[in-house]
């Protein structure tokens, strides 16, 4: 079914390219050729690798910090009061502002890029985990306290499984956000990566190259979603009774 829908997409693309002409929308074959050229020279893999490394680092950074801060804000009322205005500010700050400011203040460095991407994702993770922490079942907390569960055990067996769906939701929406932002950060201030290459192709008006990078990137995102994210979610919810 999925293959069929991809095939329909490619055929539509091919027909449209016949109508509008090569210069605006090159046919699939030409894009594939550009893709193979980049792959042969190795540039495709270097750039994809650079982008993926940035995604991984900023994702881990934002998820770890976001989960910790969100849990804390959900449990401690004072932390929630103090943190809330910051959260609202960060949530509504445009990604571009964060990226540009990071490059101005920290220079055109790798650290600036990764920090800027992580800061964009951080507030949504905090908000999701704060909700999850507020929704923790007090009845189970009482049970753990009456049966004298040690702290670590209670966290692992009572709290974490309740937070897991929220962590998964934050991870999923966060990953989608990072995929979008990482290219902008690269375009504006990195000498490699998919975003940088797309910038180069834009300046040269090299549409096959632009599409070649965009599509390779899309394929990688799709592969990671199906191979890593979805099985992880399925594992977390294996105790739930199956829907008929």
């Amino acid at each position: 079914m999925r293959l069929l829908s991809v095939a329909v997409l490619i055929i539509t693309w091919w027909i449209v390219s016949l109508y509008v002409g090569n210069t605006r929308l090159p046919p699939p074959s030409e894009v594939l050729e550009a893709m193979l050229n980049e792959a042969k020279s190795g540039a495709l893999f270097v750039n994809l690798g650079a982008t993926l490394a940035r995604v991984a680092l900023s994702f881990v950074l934002a998820m770890t910090l976001g989960t910790a801060i969100g849990y804390w804000m959900g449990r401690v009322r004072l932390a929630d009061r103090l943190g809330d205005p910051w959260l609202i500010l960060l949530l509504n700050l445009p990604a571009l502002v964060v990226i540009v400011l990071a490059y101005i203040w920290a220079g055109l460095t790798e650290a600036a890029a990764i920090a800027a991407i992580a800061i964009n994702k951080l507030p949504t993770a905090v908000v999701t985990l704060r909700e999850g922490t507020r929704a923790l079942d007090p009845a189970l907390d009482e049970m753990a306290s009456i049966f004298a569960f040690p702290r670590g055990k209670a966290f692992r067996h009572v709290v974490l499984p309740q937070l897991a769906p929220y962590v998964a939701a934050a991870a999923r929406s966060g990953l989608a956000l990072i995929w979008k932002i990482v290219l902008v950060a690269e375009y504006l201030g990195r000498p490699n990566g998919v975003g940088f290459e797309i910038g180069v192709a834009f300046q040269l008006f090299d549409i096959p190259l632009l599409l070649a990078y965009s599509l390779s990137f899309a394929v990688v995102v799709f592969a990671i979603e199906t191979a890593l994210v979805q099985p992880f979610e399925a594992r977390l919810s294996r105790w739930r009774p199956r829907a008929a």
Partner: protein, 236 residues
């Protein structure tokens, strides 16, 4: 080992800022090996009292003295199992020191041996209650609390679980506190009954039952129940 309870009052303040008394002048003691029963209409404040006795609620006037390092096992009204852990894991997590022999003996008596690997979501309420009971007994408690353990089960199932509880209580040096609104359960399982009034709850009568549980005949039980009903009627 004994539990001494002397709560002079416990009040809640509701959202509108009004104070409501929930408990007033509750005093009783519970000895080792004894089954005390709190009998009272639903909503009279029994669950609030349990929260105080288990140390979850410290905001009351009075005194509760219990041994330090008291091992508590509790069966809640709703079973409160961890839905993401199997039946066996639920019991083992609460009772890490229980060995395999004790666990399988418990699972046998409660007819749970075939359900060890199931998740709580796959169990009926009756089964989940029995898992909760297994969990409470697996910790080898000094103080066992049963909060309406037979509520919302059909009569036959309740009777079976009641006799299983009676079997498991036999010969234990545990202090047990059973909370129920059912007189039948109270006179079949209890050694000493505390009759509670409606809110704010206080103890109306303390009724000991001298005859051991296993020796009580149907006639004894009927007699005890009639006596209780008369006490209640006398109080209006």
């Amino acid at each position: 080992m004994r539990l001494e309870v002397d709560i002079s009052s416990k009040a809640f303040t509701n959202a509108a800022g009004e104070r409501h008394d929930v408990l007033r002048n509750i005093a009783f003691t519970l000895e080792q090996g004894e089954v005390g029963v709190l009998v009272g209409p639903s909503g009279c404040g029994k669950t609030t009292m349990l929260r105080i006795l288990t140390g979850l609620d410290h905001d009351y006037r009075g005194r509760v003295s219990r041994p330090a390092a008291l091992r508590i096992g509790m069966v809640f009204q709703e079973p409160r199992l961890l839905p993401w852990r199997s039946v066996e894991e639920n019991v083992r997590l609460a009772a890490p020191k229980a060995d395999e022999a004790r666990l399988s003996a418990l699972f046998d008596v409660l007819e749970l041996s075939g359900h060890r690997a199931h998740f709580p979501g796959e169990l009926s309420l009756g089964l989940a209650r029995r898992v909760a009971l297994a969990r409470a007994l697996a910790v080898d408690p000094d103080f066992l609390i049963l909060d309406e353990p037979l509520a919302s089960l059909d009569a036959a199932l309740a009777a079976r679980l009641r006799s299983q509880i009676a079997t498991l209580l036999e010969g234990r040096a545990t202090m047990t506190l059973l909370v129920t609104h059912n007189l039948d359960d109270a006179v079949r399982l209890g050694d000493r009954l505390f009759l509670l009034s409606a809110r704010p709850a206080r103890i109306l009568h303390e009724v000991p039952i001298a005859k051991p549980r296993s020796a009580r005949s149907a006639a004894d039980i009927r007699e005890a129940k009639d006596a209780l009903a008369q006490l209640y009627a006398a109080d209006g």
